[in-house]
Amino acid sequence: MRAAVLSMNSVAVPAQRSGKPLIRFAGVGLDLGGRRIINDLCIELAAGEFVCVVGPSGCGKTTLLRLLAGLVKPTSGQVLREEQPVTGPSRDVAIVFQDYGRALLPWRTVAGNVSLALEAAGMPKARRHDRVMELLARVRLDAHADKFLSELSGGMQQRLQIARCLAQEPSVLLMDEPFGALDAMTRQHLQDEVAQLVRETGGTVLFITHDLEEAIYLGDRVIALRANPGHARSSLAQAIEVRLARPRDQLSTREDPEFLRLRRYLHDFVEEGHA
């Protein structure tokens, strides 16, 4: 009931935006193992937008990201980037994987891991070193360039993965519950660092999380997906605009009445989805 009232209150807006979207999901559906994971999904991402995706586990959040990355192909509908269908992975789209321990190369040093992205892009060896150090400085890992992964904390490893993604110079950054495995303090630090990096680079971000507060704190918009949509309902359950001022602050933003209102709204909504 409350959700209905609030949605009248112009909190929820349809995912329709003016101008040319950078990314467009046009009626995307996906079956995996005979089960409908995603159904009739229509969303758009504008350039420079920070969009967070929430929803109950198993609702296809990660699948959504993999569709955008071109790692899986939709069963029906189309995923378009700059109005071109996504046919496969592109260097212009980078993924920060949830499990940094699996996504980084343990036989390479910190610098070597970032260098991998530059090697893939064909940057000559002579120019790599400076670029690597520059990227490491941006995630405050320049003092650890010669260390191996086993010598780094989880937060440092995830920052390293972000640095490797930045080395790709992507226009779209996909983050799959990147801070899910980190402790609360590290998590908050990294949230602020990512927000800052994105503000500096002006990239478009799709950020998957199961933490509603994290989604509101980081996003310009929060998209909620529905689990088991079947063939009748759309996967897109809700999309809300977050009009909190930037730069955001871990204390004052989280105490902002608007933040609390959005949190309550999303919380009730996701609870309903679980019931």
Partner: protein, 258 residues
């Protein structure tokens, strides 16, 4: 850092049993006073060993055997490595090769001797071919398995970074599979020495295997047993060497001690 944590002092207690056995054999031989054509006292073995070491025949035979074993190991191992990587990456190749592999793999290495002899006659090339054939299979199968065990997420990383196929193999797959591949190599190295000696006993008149046969046929059990223990020592030493290399290479990679 946890890899090879037990690499400190060797445990000397492990030597107690062999030492006691040798001592017992020595005492028994002295008490009974054997003059046998098939047994010898450990002290006689030591003397025969010293003699063979002194006249250079032992080192020459060891060199011949080890050279053939290493050559066969490298030839068969590298081929197995290459094809193993290919099979690990390509499901089609794996499926096509299923029957040939399953049918050829169980062939005993000794059964290859007549064929190898038909091709090369007596000599090292024949010995190397048989060793290579034997080392090929464990390298092929274990490399394939190592490649298939590479973290799937790393393939996606390679995909997203836009690495070319050769770069993917050399920068991601090989280094990720290398700890397991090295274990396979150690296994194949042990096998190579066993097979080299076998071929020398059975067919090729060279190396430690032939020296063993010669000692037996000329009624020198002391030298025969000395050579037998020496072959065991050479195998043990080569494994120790490879273990040390393994620890050094993969100390920073967790889970290297497969």
């Amino acid at each position: 850092m946890s890899a090879g944590g037990d690499a400190g002092k060797p445990d000397w207690r492990g030597i107690a049993l062999p030492a006691a056995t040798l001592l017992l054999a020595e005492v028994a031989a002295r008490v009974v006073g054997i003059t046998s054509e098939s047994l010898a006292a450990p002290s006689d073995m030591a003397l025969a060993f010293g003699e063979a070491l002194g006249d250079g025949s032992l080192l020459r035979a060891t060199w011949e055997t080890v050279a053939a074993a290493v050559a066969g190991l490298l030839a068969g191992g590298l081929l197995g490595l290459g094809i193993g990587i290919w099979f690990g990456l390509s499901r089609t190749a794996r499926r096509l090769a299923l029957w040939p592999v399953e049918l050829l793999r169980p062939l005993p290495s000794v059964a290859m001797i007549p064929i190898a002899m038909m091709i090369f006659g007596f000599g090292y090339r024949m010995e190397i071919l048989v060793v290579a054939f034997t080392c090929f299979w464990p390298m092929l199968l274990l490399t394939e398995s190592a490649v298939r065990h590479v973290e799937p997420c790393l393939y996606e990383v390679a995909h997203m970074l836009g690495l070319t196929t050769p770069a993917r193999v050399f920068k991601i797959v090989l280094p990720a599979a290398l700890p397991r591949i090295f274990v396979a190599f150690r296994l194949a190295a042990g096998i190579s020495l066993v097979v080299a000696v076998t071929v020398e006993v059975a067919a090729n008149p060279a190396g430690l295997g032939y020296a063993l046969m010669l000692a037996q046929q000329s009624l020198h059990p002391d030298l025969m047993f000395a050579l037998l223990l020496w072959v065991g020592f050479v195998g043990w030493a080569s494994n120790c060497l490879l273990l040390a290399i393994q620890r050094r290479l993969f100390s920073h990679v967790a889970g290297a001690q497969a």
